[in-house]
Symmetry: C2
Amino acid sequence: MTKQPRRRGETVRRAVLDATAAELTDAGVEHVTIAGVAARAGVHETSIYRRWVTKEALLLETAQEQTAGGVPEPDTGSFRGDLVALILALDAFVRSPIGGALLRVARTTSTADGATARETFWRDRLRSSSDIIDRARARGEIRPAVDPELLMQAVVGSVHLGVTFGGRPLDRARAEELVDLLLAGAGMPAADR
Amino acid sequence: MTKQPRRRGETVRRAVLDATAAELTDAGVEHVTIAGVAARAGVHETSIYRRWVTKEALLLETAQEQTAGGVPEPDTGSFRGDLVALILALDAFVRSPIGGALLRVARTTSTADGATARETFWRDRLRSSSDIIDRARARGEIRPAVDPELLMQAVVGSVHLGVTFGGRPLDRARAEELVDLLLAGAGMPAADR
DNA sequence: GCTCTATCGCAAGTCATCTTGCGATAGGCC
DNA sequence: GGCCTATCGCAAGATGACTTGCGATAGAGC
């Protein structure tokens, strides 16, 4: 039953989180060290180790905070336009230092801590995209039978995979091609179903 | 210009690679230590450090060797069946210790070494799936305009994302749902195009 | 069979993450 | 304003990745 004293703690927390974000964009994910963060934040290393279970946890929390409202929810007037915009924004974000850190940690972490965190992130992302789908459905642009979660899994998954293995960033033409494929499907138009 | 002496080297290499694979399946990715591998292989730590640039490189090479022919190329007679089988096999593989190590390293590594390795892996995966697409195209099951690489990016990406963020393994019903979505598309059947 | 070189074993050391025990202090509570 | 407790600073240490210099030896070439 902690009676929330915490003024001191909150100051440290903010300083460390800000310092981590700065180090992240300055040096990149793989060159961030606890010692460096501690020095920049004007805080002792031990204070960091005591507050965050592991380095990954610190990176995760930092990335999540920076992400809140990071990827915008486009509203272009058409489902196709929304998806293209979402894909381009997501691709750019995932290639940024913050986004890269988030993805890397989400994949790496195996602690319960990290598991819940990545579930939260994913849920947020789904919720933000559910608006896009709701509007599309209202406009009659998608088949009602389509599972929104599955569709978004395909959309976001394509982007993630492209970043993980592909290398080169998405340009608008490629993004449109991807969206058109997901909208029209790979199979033949009518028959055989 | 090394005149390939290497009998001694090859023995060590095999022992270390086998020991790494064993440790990987025994303890999981995050509990593999160089010291442990060295002990199991009956080799000094230094020999490992001298041969492999980094721990990730060792894991990568081990995973790649184990993967060769790891994910099968299904031939069920229909495109839909092939895709469902591929997705289920891929999901299982990516959740295995070896597959997990491969994915983790592919995402983590930022060295040129790792970059080429993951490109190779991805190219292999694409090539293996291109047969599926070729057969489907011959049967007239897919629209000719579809870019095979993009389609596979969506298929494989969905699986990867599901593993990274989702948590629970794919069952057959969910896999079929995903394939049907990719085949039929999310958009309305005819009009508005 | 002998030389000769690349590879292995060994020892000592660096660096970063993470732990633990202890004393100091900031700030909430009365 | 004084007590009291949670948090911070500090020091010392454990562990694992990775490096380096040196001596020993296996095995290829003659």
